[in-house]
């Protein structure tokens, strides 16, 4: 599925819920299905800067696609990174770099997050895109 399609799918899923409790519960559930990062990567080097709770992300290139794995010590942050990874993982670097992020506003995610967490969300997106840029550069060099 293309990034755009996954985003549409998420927008539809979140539109089914009436209130924030259900949205939070769904986000927490999504966190449980997050592809977890290996424990050896849970070090400061893999921390996303700008999050108040700890969020670790690693990226690998498998068959030209970037595959993200992550974890967090906070459940809601884990849900947030899980949503982002569902959108961006298993795509080519260029697709990730060029992908729009306006689905975040359409889901209404930011309205439900504290300013700290909203900043954390922006930092996570930035981190995923930085990985994509780094792999693109690496591929071009080779």
């Amino acid at each position: 599925m293309k990034i755009k399609e996954i985003q549409e799918e998420l927008i539809d899923e979140f539109a089914m819920f009436d209130d924030w409790v259900e949205r939070y519960e769904y986000m927490i559930d999504l966190g449980k299905s997050l592809p977890l990062i290996e424990s050896k990567y849970k070090t400061d080097d893999y921390l996303v800067n700008g999050c108040q709770s700890k969020v670790w992300v690693n990226a690998e290139l498998i068959d030209d696609n970037i595959v993200f794995k992550a974890d967090s010590d906070a459940i809601i942050s884990k849900g947030i990174i899980a949503i982002l990874i569902r959108v961006f993982s298993n795509h080519k670097p260029n697709e990730i770099i060029e992908a729009s992020t306006d689905f975040i506003d359409k889901i209404g995610l930011k309205d439900h997050l504290s300013p700290n967490r909203a900043n954390g969300l922006s930092s996570m997106i930035k981190q995923l895109k930085l990985y994509a840029i780094a792999y693109k550069t690496k591929i071009n060099d080779e």
Binding site: W20, V21, Y24, E25, I28, Q52, S53, K54, D73, A74, I75, I76, S77, H112, L113, S114, N116, R117
Partner: protein
């Protein structure tokens, strides 16, 4: 003026316009009073009145408005002198906040401290009472020694005694820990430090909202606080200093109002308190801060303290019924602050969910990373009560907390 015997919460709550706010469709429950207290209408009105009636720069105009503003500003200083029982009003310096006050003193000792001198602080300190001294040590070569805490979060006094010696120049301890709410035995600390001729600064930011502070009885050298925690507006701090020490340390800022004579070769400084109040101060804020302590006095600090301890005991009892809930900071000497965690749930998660129920708490390291490192936790959830909070609000919070735990487990 209210009677000084009882607290009428219903009436008091009417004095605070913000308590009518709805957050996420729910009545606001404000349990983040240790970060800043809410502002009574009389204080807000005093700011409006200042700008509507006598906004003018102080200490320099001969015109009527300037006189009025100057008088109101200096009246406020006298109010704080009385509030803290200082000998002289010029020993009260207005700053922009506790952090500014601490930095002013730390800066003042730059030329006084020598390499090898020692500064004692405690493990309980807020970052604002750690970083300025580290900066001072970097410049002077002085060393920081830290008073440890025990598993209850109380300072170990015997360890403090061991740290003192003839090289100890300064001792800085908070009166009440912002993260745990524990009241430190500052009188004992001050007396002991003075036996070694050390100078003592007490950070009172978390104490002044809850208790009467008498700087003369304490015999403290410097005492600092912020007025936004005692019903005043943000942006005003107090630095009390004994006259001899305030005379000894140099000004922090140079500028207008703090000078006596200025030539291009050299300027001589004005006397106290102007030496430390360069430039146009936060005039309306200082005046409103005075109105804030008038308001606190009208309720009575003893009444406030008694009622807040009732809230503290009530909430502590209710919280301890929750499985896996751990309170950090266990002491008989506490203000109405409770720091806790539930099992392995991240404090941010709980804070985010209870916010949805309109409840303001503080979560995280609370600007006190050394304490969190000691307990090996990423942070805590902190609820802190003021005299306008109620037991009913605590009940709503406990219910929201149960829901949050259910969602997050």
């Amino acid at each position: 003026m209210r009677k000084n015997t009882n607290i009428n919460i219903k009436e008091i709550r009417k004095d605070f316009p913000i308590l009518n706010r709805k957050i996420n469709g729910k009545d606001l429950i404000y349990f983040d009073n240790a970060a800043t207290s809410q502002t009574p209408k009389v204080v807000i009105d005093s700011i409006i009145s200042y700008y509507s009636n006598y906004n003018s720069n102080i200490h320099r105009g001969v015109h009527a408005l300037s006189q009025e503003a100057t008088n109101a500003y200096e009246d406020s200083r006298v109010k704080f002198q009385k509030y803290f029982n200082a000998d002289n009003s010029f020993e009260i310096i207005f700053t922009s906040g506790t952090t500014h006050s601490i930095n002013l003193v730390a800066n003042g000792f730059k030329k006084i401290l020598k390499a090898g001198d020692e500064i004692i602080i405690s493990q309980l300190e807020h970052h604002s009472n750690i970083v300025p001294w580290q900066m001072l040590c970097e410049e002077t070569g002085a060393k920081i020694k830290v008073i440890p805490i025990d598993h209850n979060g109380e300072l170990v006094f015997s360890e403090f005694e061991k740290l003192l010696n003839s090289r100890t120049e300064l001792v800085f301890v908070n009166h009440v820990s912002n993260a745990l709410g524990i009241i430190n035995p500052i009188k004992k600390i001050i007396d002991k430090a003075h036996e070694f001729n050390a100078i003592v600064l007490i950070d009172g930011a978390q104490a002044t909202p809850h208790m009467k502070v008498d700087v003369l009885k304490l015999d403290v050298d410097f005492y600092v606080t912020s007025t936004h925690k005692i019903c005043g507006p943000t942006g005003v701090g107090i630095l009390y200093g004994k006259e001899k020490w305030l005379n000894k340390i140099p000004p922090f800022f140079g500028g207008g109002e703090m000078i006596d004579q200025v030539t291009f070769e050299k300027s001589t400084y004005a006397g106290l308190p102007n030496k430390f109040e360069a430039g146009t101060p936060n005039i309306s804020g200082v005046i409103a801060s005075g109105v804030g302590i008038d308001y606190m006095n009208s309720i009575g600090l003893e009444n406030i303290n008694k009622y807040e301890i009732e809230l503290l005991d009530y909430a502590t009892r209710k919280l301890l019924l929750i499985e896996d809930l751990k309170i950090y900071g266990v002491s008989k000497q506490k203000t109405s602050v409770i720091s806790f965690n539930v099992g392995k749930i991240h404090p941010y998660d709980i804070g985010s969910i209870v916010d949805k129920f309109g409840i303001a708490t503080r979560t995280g390291q609370l600007c006190a990373q050394p304490i969190m490192d000691y307990f090996k936790i990423p942070g805590t959830i902190r609820i802190s009560f003021s005299f306008y909070n109620t037991k009913e609000e605590i009940d709503v919070f406990i219910e929201a907390l149960h829901k949050a735990i259910l969602m997050l487990s």
